[in-house]
């Protein structure tokens, strides 16, 4: 058994199985364990899940470490991936059975923006958790434009209005103002664009029908892709002046003294949906029990993460700090995971909902969340033509699968592992969150009227606009 490591790589299924069967039969112990199994055994038991080194992969790590996957009879191997593209390709070509994904990824893949494949999501992994960081140099220039509190600290949330004069100066000097985000269809891209546009800075359009997928048409700030763990290094090298990324990479900029986070996404859009768990539609069809079971394990993990007012967070941070998960230093991860966020060095503020894994029905895959992403894809030209409201609805239904979630949740309730009041009322839930008005620019989002929503923005494509 000492050589497991190699054996695992070389031979996925042990040839000793038959021998051990015999042994297992011999050593049967009569156990009192017997519960009425309504949900069948998983069709596929050995699974490989991918993730990117970000704290919001926590539900996967916790489901593994707390044995929730094993409780479902699932034997899961968790592998970190180099970047979002590699991760998505892994899920599509079957190297990975499922993965921690950007909410935009399953939507874009199903739609065919980038690699086309039908990816679905039965489980939404978290709310919030991102931040926008600028380099020290930019921060010093922004500071005079930010109002101050009585104690001299800047007033938050900081709007992009404070960045505008800095950007104008760079523009006048003929220097392109480059910023980093993690993926063209990432939450971070849309959040950074939202923040910039709310402050009157044009982040640029995409025009996939003309073969332009760089997203820099008409741009004042030039956004490009950098893998999350490399953000601080790229900022330090001066290639970009700021970035939008998930934790711990904003806090790391503070710790390393190379940048200052100016705003968290919680302040851009309160309780915005963040990562999802993505699997192929084919997988869900072929292995329905496995799909429900992995969803159950992650629901339990999410609940554990938020239980008793984040009481388990320090334990979670300890797990995430292991080199095979996020691997950053404990203190760096703890900064945001335990409900505080450090802006400038020493300016630590309470943001109890910076990472939400379970509260506010965070794990339920709402159609309206998918529709918000679709509206932003349309706003910035990733969806080149006009689409009727019904198209948005159908696309959301194609990708977000609350039906699977509901089955998983109901079986957890039936087994007494969870309580019904911890979930939305499944009988009346229609998958739309209703009117949401917690945006930094005060624009109200109604998931049922996507076209009317995008028409409200001063910057961005509107109904009828084609580049």
């Amino acid at each position: 058994m000492k050589q497991d490591g190699i054996v695992r790589v070389l031979i996925k299924r042990s040839k000793l199985a038959k021998l051990t069967t015999a042994l297992a039969v011999l050593t049967i112990t009569v156990s009192p364990f017997s519960h009425a199994e309504k949900l069948g055994y998983p069709e596929k038991e050995e699974l490989t899940f991918g993730f990117i080194k970000l704290t919001d992969m926590a539900p996967i790590a916790i489901a593994y470490e707390n044995g929730y996957f094993e409780d479902e009879g699932l034997y899961v191997t968790i592998e970190s991936q180099a970047n979002w593209k590699v991760l998505l390709d892994g899920v599509i070509d079957g190297r990975l059975d499922g993965a921690h994904m950007l909410a935009g990824q399953p939507i874009a893949a199903t739609m065919g923006f980038g690699t086309k494949a039908h990816i679905i999501t039965p489980f939404s992994m978290d709310l919030n958790g991102n931040g926008i960081t600028v380099s020290n140099e930019i921060w010093q220039q922004m500071k005079p434009h930010i109002p101050k509190m009585a104690d001299g600290r800047p007033v938050h949330p900081i709007k992009a209005d404070a960045l505008k004069p800095v950007l104008e100066k760079y523009k006048a000097d003929g220097k392109p103002f480059n910023m980093g985000m993690v993926f063209p269809v990432s939450t971070h891209n849309y959040e950074l664009r939202y923040w910039l546009a709310a402050g009157g800075i044009h982040p640029g359009y995409y025009a996939p029908h003309k073969g332009d997928t760089s997203g820099k048409i008409d741009a004042e700030a030039f956004l490009s892709v950098t893998p999350p763990p490399q953000m601080p290094a790229t900022l330090e090298a001066g290639t970009i002046y700021g970035y939008c990324v998930g934790e711990p990479w904003n806090q790391q900029a503070v710790t390393k003294g190379i940048g200052v986070p100016v705003i968290t996404d919680y302040e851009i859009w309160k309780n915005n949906p963040e990562k999802v768990f993505g699997i192929t539609a084919e997988f869900a069809e072929k292995y329905p029990n496995t799909t429900i079971r992995l969803t159950r394990a992650m629901i339990r993990a999410a609940k554990w993460l938020d239980e008793n007012d984040n009481a388990n967070r320090p334990a979670a941070v300890k797990i995430l700090a292991q080199s095979n998960y996020v691997g950053a230093d404990y203190d760096v991860i703890a900064n945001s995971m335990t409900g505080t966020f450090e802006y400038e060095k020493g300016d630590k503020r309470e943001v109890p909902d910076f990472n939400v894994f379970f509260r506010y029905n965070a794990t339920y895959p709402y159609y309206s969340d998918a529709i918000w992403y679709l509206t932003q894809m349309r706003r910035w030209g990733q969806i080149a033509e006009d689409k009727p409201d019904s198209w948005y609805r159908d696309m959301a239904k194609n990708v977000y699968r609350p039906d699977i979630y509901t089955k998983a949740a109901q079986s957890l309730i039936a087994e007494g592992l969870m309580k019904a009041e911890e979930f939305p009322d499944f009988a009346s839930e229609d998958g739309y969150k209703g009117l949401q008005d917690d945006f930094i620019d005060g624009v109200v989002f109604d998931g049922k009227k996507p076209n009317a929503y995008i028409n409200q923005f001063p910057i961005g494509l509107k109904q009828g606009d084609v580049l």
């Binding site: 490591g5 190699i6 000793l16 199985a17 049967i28 156990s31 950053a328």
Partner: protein
Amino acid sequence: MNSTSSTAAQSQPPSRLANHFQTIFNSLVNTVAIPLTGISVFLMIWAAGAQSIDTSLGAFPGPAAVYQQFGKLYLEHNAERAKADAFYQRQEQRNNQRLDVDPDYTVKVRSYTGKETFADQIATSLVTVISGFLLAAFIAIPLGIAVGLSKTLNAAINPIVQIFKPVSPLAWLPLVTMVVSAVYVSPDPLLAKSFLTSMITVTLCCLWPMVINTSVGVAAIDSDLVNVSRVLRLSALTHVQKIVLPAAMPMIFTGMRLSLGIAWMVLIAAEMLAQSPGLGKFVWDEFQNGSSSSLSRIMAAVIVIGFIGFLLDRGMLQIQRLASWDKNSAAR
């Protein structure tokens, strides 16, 4: 280095004995003292230099920090093994429980799903490099012999070899990845795809030096030997067995040593890029982690990679000595 044994020395006259001690002393100085001095000077320069380089992940690790990391890696390895044992126990229990309710269930023992330790990664890399190398040797040596024997074949294959030889593994990797995932489809694969991808990349890169060296060795056989074979009217197979192989052996081994060195370098790069398990992934993961101990862990890996590369080369040399009739050629 081949000093006479001490029993022989006792029978020598005293003056020669002193002389003998002098040679032993000299060889000791040469083989032990000088390298040791070299290493300690290097360590001192490293330690002094490391302090003055301040990265965003803290000071560059000096020898002491790296040494500590080796200890930590060992402890982590032990902790992971304990977790693995617990995993198998839980699994056995779970399987038994299921058998109680579901007697038709065929019990299956799954390998541990936890993280690979540093030692596991080393083992994985070694297995991958050796498999890739053996596969390459299996193809390259017969091909090289054929090319060496036939001028026509040589003219046909030489341009291809020359073009593919300088190709970097990083260029092959995306192609290999896509081909493996397209061609190697099986619901329950015996070999992991990531393993195949790294192995094939290694094979592609270390194939060429072996082909070239083998063919050159075979083509350069002394014409007297070939004539002897003609006179004796040896069959083609016997000709290869008795004349070609022994004569070309030194060159074949030179090619193999070159290839093994390339294979090891290629593998680390391939693992890093493809994120397939092994030392390369370990290095990349640590770089991505960006924790305060990341740099010293990477440095520990660098030392291990170098040391293994050295051992592989020495091992190959030893095999060459055993296999070759021309003992002097091995010293090259």
